[in-house]
Symmetry: C2
Subunit: 288 residues, 2 copies
């Protein structure tokens, strides 16, 4: 997805919000905002928004001198979802359609997105996950399930910390020996990295790899060779979250996007209502 004009004010708002989340220093807030302005002035808008997000968050890490400024937030959301996990596992196991119920909760977890809502609180996450158990799903779970059943190699691209714990509910219902779970290569926003995959217990279930990149999405050309190889060898890619949708929506392959459409521009691009819980294949997705 290109960077729409409406993304520009929003990217600046997010840069400011990120600076405020990780520092109480007004000078740093102004430096971040000015850096984002400078970056946007000459930006090629055919590139996707996470290209800018990557630069902005690199600068934020430089200015704060912290390699992982969202670590505390990530741990907080991991703890929250781990606390909810036994109850949600029981809910999925007792559901009439456990697979769909797990899909639903994996998408619900995508509400934990500090890029969109820096002020997200735990009460909101808890309420949304509860509501998502019965909310409308926009998309065809049956088609997704048939891809899962037929795929030889499945690559599961995670999105945020906290959310990754709920991903486990769905990953446990995939053919585990054929699944690789990927996380970001370095700290970027509250996106999940290896540490979060371990906290979620995924490394004891499936192969976990990092993508070698610090973009808040999957910019293939920025990812490691081994990740790119895994991506191209997989006959089903499950891509969680808006960042992965923004960066991969025009990429060939059997990609199913699972996300909550929190942003009006992304909702319009995907052709779904704002705030929809979405399961959507790319236009390139044909059959296995």
């Amino acid at each position: 997805m290109k960077t729409y004009l409406d993304c520009i004010p929003c990217i600046l708002r997010q840069a400011l919000e990120s600076a405020r989340t990780v520092s109480s220093e007004p000078l740093l807030h102004e430096q971040m905002l000015r850096y984002a302005l400078q970056t946007l002035v000459d930006q090629d808008l055919t590139q996707s928004p996470p290209v800018i997000g990557q630069l902005v968050h690199r600068r934020l890490r430089e200015l704060t001198g912290e390699a992982d400024p969202y670590r505390a937030a990530k741990e907080r959301f991991n703890r929250l979802t781990l606390q909810m996990l036994p109850e949600l596992t029981a809910f999925v196991e007792n559901a009439a359609d456990s697979f769909e119920s797990a899909v639903r909760l994996a998408i619900a977890g995508n509400v934990i997105d500090l890029g969109v809502h820096g002020d997200l609180d735990e009460e909101h996450v808890r309420r949304f996950i509860t509501e998502a158990q019965s909310a409308v799903l926009t998309g065809d779970v049956g088609r997704f399930k048939s891809f899962v059943q037929q795929a030889e190699k499945i690559l599961y691209l995670t999105d945020n910390a906290g959310e990754i714990v709920l991903d486990r509910l769905l990953i446990e219902r995939l053919p585990l020996s054929r699944v690789t779970v990927a996380v970001r290569g370095e700290a970027i926003l509250n996106d999940a990295t290896r540490e979060d995959a371990q906290t979620a217990g995924l490394d004891r279930l499936v192969r976990v790899m990092d993508n070698g990149s610090d973009a808040p999405g999957t910019l293939l050309e920025d990812c490691s060779q081994s990740f790119q190889r895994c991506f191209h060898e997989s006959d089903l890619i499950i891509a969680k979250g808006q960042g992965n949708f923004e960066t991969l929506s025009q990429t060939p392959g059997n990609i199913f996007f699972l996300f909550k459409a929190k942003c009006p521009v992304i909702a319009a691009h995907a052709g779904v209502p704002l705030n929809a819980m979405v399961i959507q294949p790319t236009e390139y997705t044909a059959s296995i």
Copy 2:
């Protein structure tokens, strides 16, 4: 009022919204947004937001080749409020306190602000004006009234077209021979100019002058000598709207601001709730 960091994303959003309001040409939308970005990169943030608004709207007029791109919108809101005027005049005349009722409606008219809400519709304006007749006023109308009664020279700074028709309800209750009404010197957004003062019938009631400037507020150093003289000679200045508040909130003089606090940054700066109908003197206002 300085330009707060939160104003930056909002200024960009407004620049884009303005471009879309006056043109359906996507290239122009991008040019406007890039111009606003370029302007903001090196902006001195101790200046008030209307300093940037002035530059952005000059560029918009250049790019569209239209000297007054909001003329149609201004006429539409003038017509709407003129239609409502007989009914509102009767309401004010029959009110227990006609002066306060007129203050209330003059502030209510400030909802007509295409700088804040480019998509404002007539239904919204009509509903807000009706509600404002009984809404809470934040400020001391009695103190304002005593200034009005004692002032030798009153300068009334108008804000938007449409709104200026409702200003007439209040202006009619001022000592007319001592009142000068000022409008913007050139077309800027949907702000009122001489043409709108005439449409509202103000030129038949009081002295009307323009301020010689195309800023969406009152940047004194940018105004004509004759306006500046009138400003400094007046012992009461009634300043309508957010733009006049932003540009004059730190200016010495007996200035009463009458506006609807539509923006969270301005509301915080003024120390009032968001969406409050505000009547507030500057900290410099003492006595006459």
